[in-house]
């Protein structure tokens, strides 16, 4: 039983504390150390010591090693989490990001002393532009949602520069929640556009909403049901004819590398999730990186500064009077840029195309193997992910969530559940290209076993998981009486 340790280990670091124990090593003072109040007004100084644990280095190492064993990670488990592109994170990426020249470089080092870093950023932006068919890429956004905000703010600045007053942004009802949320932060009213049963845009509904007050249409391609939007070129033309900018949520870019490019399709803006397509680790929920690509007409509005090349020298260009400003203090999540750069240089153009081909093949294989056991949300072939519905199982008293929990017992992480919102009891499965046929078969066998259990022994599903460090948790209690920090004796 791999989780015996985890099942019996129930400590928080605070509960290991023993007064006087030390885990740090700090230099002896080589300059005079006076009491702080000699240099700082007493009212500015801490009156009571910080209540932090007092533990040894081994206490720390063992505690966090044990906690790590309570997680399913990609390194230990298949992670078919739809829309999240949980592909293998190559180890060489980590070695490169930790080179002192990258990992130990101060962000305010003068440009002349950061030429290698600036060159890497410039080249990465160029490679992402080529992959996406966009004219320019800004690496500054810290995550997909921030890329969205940057993209929508550039669109806003563009319309304002043209003295056009547009107040609405259209978003399909199948969209990720960040799309409407980012749009709202940018100050727009969000209008939902209907999707048809296949998750494709309802063109009639789109046409009804496309008015002179619409600034942008934001759409995920391939869509959140895992299908390529077959009329995307027409949709973009419809939008452009009304002066509407078109934004592609690049969450699903892993499906189309070297096959089609957002820029060629006509998109004005698209963001990238380096932590999905370009193998930077998810880290238990970030950090990610969300570069944003744009067409030339939006270049004046790029976040500042922009990495530029002049001859063989690289520099941060701050003279951007029309810029939307900054999104984070420095230049972007550079550590993630190093990893993504390493990955793209590892794969090369043919390798990247093979990535998408295998991602599509793997998803279709799973869909085919499971289609007689679960309802398929939209007919195939799918792209890099497929969406199943557990509506059949729900009639037997087994929900998508139950199935997800049962998978944990069978040694797999769960698919995304209840997304997209337009599919009842959705199970969204994205295997990625880095999984082998053997792994896919084992996963499909587990899913088929669960489908059978739903008919013969639903209780085993409803009571899952039982092999994990804890069983199902009381979410209602957590939300009704929020306990968000540990307190001594509590």
């Amino acid at each position: 039983m791999p989780y015996d340790n985890a099942k019996t280990y129930d400590k928080l670091i605070f509960e290991l504390s023993s007064p006087g124990r030390v885990g740090y090593s700090l230099p002896a003072p080589d300059v005079p150390v006076e009491p702080a109040r000699a240099q700082v007004p007493a009212a500015y100084l801490r009156r009571e010591p910080v209540e932090l644990p007092e533990v040894s280095e081994l206490d720390v190492v063992r505690h966090y090693s044990r906690l790590s064993q309570m997680n399913y990670g990609l390194d230990t488990h298949f992670y078919p989490l739809g829309s999240c592109t949980m592909k293998y994170n190559p180890k060489i990426n980590e070695d490169m990001a930790r080179l002192a020249g990258f990992g130990r470089l101060h962000p305010l080092a003068p440009d002349a002393l950061a030429q290698g870093a600036l060159r890497l950023m410039h080249e990465l932006a160029g490679m992402l532009a080529e992959i996406s068919g966009m004219d320019t890429v800004s690496l500054q956004p810290a995550a997909g949602a921030q890329g969205e905000l940057a993209g929508v703010l550039m669109i806003k600045a563009y319309h304002e520069a043209n003295r056009e007053k547009r107040t609405k942004v259209l978003v399909p009802d199948s969209a990720h929640g960040t799309n409407p949320a980012s749009t709202a932060v940018a100050g727009y009213e969000v209008i939902e556009v209907k999707s048809d049963a296949n998750g494709e845009v309802d063109l009639g509904d789109l046409a009804r909403h496309l008015g002179p007050d619409v600034a942008a249409f934001m759409i995920t391609v391939p869509n959140t049901l895992g299908n390529f939007e077959p009329r995307i070129v027409e949709i973009i033309e419809m939008c452009h004819a009304r002066g509407v900018q078109v934004y592609m949520d690049g969450a699903n870019l892993n499906a189309v590398l070297g096959i089609t490019r957002p820029g060629d399709l006509g998109f004005d803006v698209c963001h990238f999730n380096l932590h999905k397509t370009f193998t930077t680790p998810h880290g238990g929920g970030g950090p990610g990186a969300g570069p944003v690509g744009i067409k030339a007409h939006l270049e004046p509005f790029l976040p500042a500064p922009v990495v530029v090349k002049d001859g063989d020298r690289y520099a941060l260009d701050w003279k951007r009077p029309k810029s939307i400003g900054k999104l984070q203090a420095f230049w972007g999540n550079f550590g993630m840029h190093v990893r993504a750069y390493t990955y793209i240089r590892t794969m090369g153009p043919d390798g990247l195309r093979a990535v998408s081909e295998n991602a599509v093949l793997n998803a279709n294989y799973i869909m085919k193997r499971l289609e007689s056991h679960f309802d398929v949300a939209a007919p195939g072939p799918c792209m890099h992910e497929c969406v199943l519905s557990a509506r059949r199982q729900k009639r037997l008293g087994v929900t998508a969530m139950d199935i997800a929990k049962r998978l944990l017992d069978l040694g797999f992480y769960a698919p995304s559940t209840y997304f997209p919102l337009i599919v009842e009891e959705a199970l969204m499965i994205e295997p990625t290209e880095t999984e082998s046929k053997e792994t896919l078969d084992a996963f499909c066998d587990a899913m088929i076993q669960i489908a059978k259990e739903a008919e013969t022994n639903p209780e085993v599903i409803r009571s899952a998981p039982v092999t994990t460090p804890v069983r199902r948790l009381d979410q209602t209690r957590a939300a009704r009486e929020p306990n968000l920090r540990w307190r001594p004796g509590a």
């Binding site: 300059v31 010591p49 209540e51 644990p53 727009y188 077959p230 929920g285």
Partner: protein
Amino acid sequence: MRYLPNTPQNQRAMLDVIGARAIEDLLVKIPAKARLSRPLGLPPALAETDLIRHLRALAAENADADSYTCFAGGGAYDHYVPSPINHLISRGEFFTAYTPYQPEASQGTLRTIYEYQTMLAELTGMDVANASIYDGASSLAEAALMAQAVTGRTEIVLGTGVNPLYRRVVAAYCEGPGLRLRDVPAPEGVLDGAALRKLVGAKTAALVVQSPNFYGCLEDIAAAAETAHAAGALLVVVSDPVNLGVLEAPGRLGADIVVGEGQGLGVPLSYGGPYLGVFAAKQEFVRRMPGRLVGATVDLDGRRGFVLTLQTREQHIRRAKATSNICTNVALCALMATIYLAILGRRGLARVGELSLAKAHYAAERLGQVPGVSLRFSAPFFKEFTLKLPKSPERVVARLARGRILAGVPLKPFDRRLGDCLVVAVTEKRTKEEIDAFAEALARMVA
């Protein structure tokens, strides 16, 4: 390809099951006119050994803090990073896990975030800290938006001492909701109290104070709190948590929201990111907070466990009406900070502060004795201070770099009036020898 396990035989077998002749058949929904008809114009694949050589060459062109003595600060600091951090965060179970949406299989991540929230709430003196935000600057921007939501007011008043890079981020985020930013001058390095009282009024959603500020000076947070609260505004304090072993918790001085950059808590410099956005607030604002929160609860057997909670605030449920558009946190950086704070503990963190303070004051005295060089401001400072130089600070930085010293951050790009100034940061890592060498090099340069 080592990351693509499907062999041609595997592919054939899978296509046979699917009932397709070739992978091409699976791409039929992509219109022909939308297809890329050529290979991507990217450099060819590199073998691992060639790739390492190439990236090492790029890395070698950078003046990193291992090969240079780093006195640069301005929001990123060369603090001590205990060795276990890198080993522990590199465990695949932490490193390659996703957001803990399935809590039963994510207790490791959830428990560490709960510890992180506890530690940051304690450090900042606030009731609740969230699971983290991208970086200090975006945390401040989120605080501005939250202050608007809480107060229904339309102006944010910022001290000039707030990091100017942060100010630009706040401006970008406030564009959409139409929040107006107003600046309080700081001619003597700290907030001008009289100007402040004029600017803070019935329209003010929040007063933002950074301490120590961009010039290194310590602000009077309690006085700022009084001014803000008298006008019914919130006080937002930008704080560097690594200093809070010695400096008073902003929450004890009247802050309603505390934000800041947590990079100093064991997160690598990494040319500016990824970093750690700290965000903490009073309990009464918890349902207006941006970002993820982890809470303790129990499982079916009554065993303690942890979950993401109060999720109805967030974009995946509330969509356009969410408190923020943020989806991710920076869990791995939060884990670095958690391990850092566990290792340093209650005495170690205070020691880091005491050593930084002492060395910064030694350095200020030593550098201030260089002919023509003086301290620009007389206000008390912590680990960073502003020098007025007799020669162009940019040229000083370039010259000292030849001796492998990163002298600091010139202020000219941020404020022309301070074009002759250099901000110098001194952490506990700097030695007397390094500081003396800096002073000698500076003396030679300006002589």
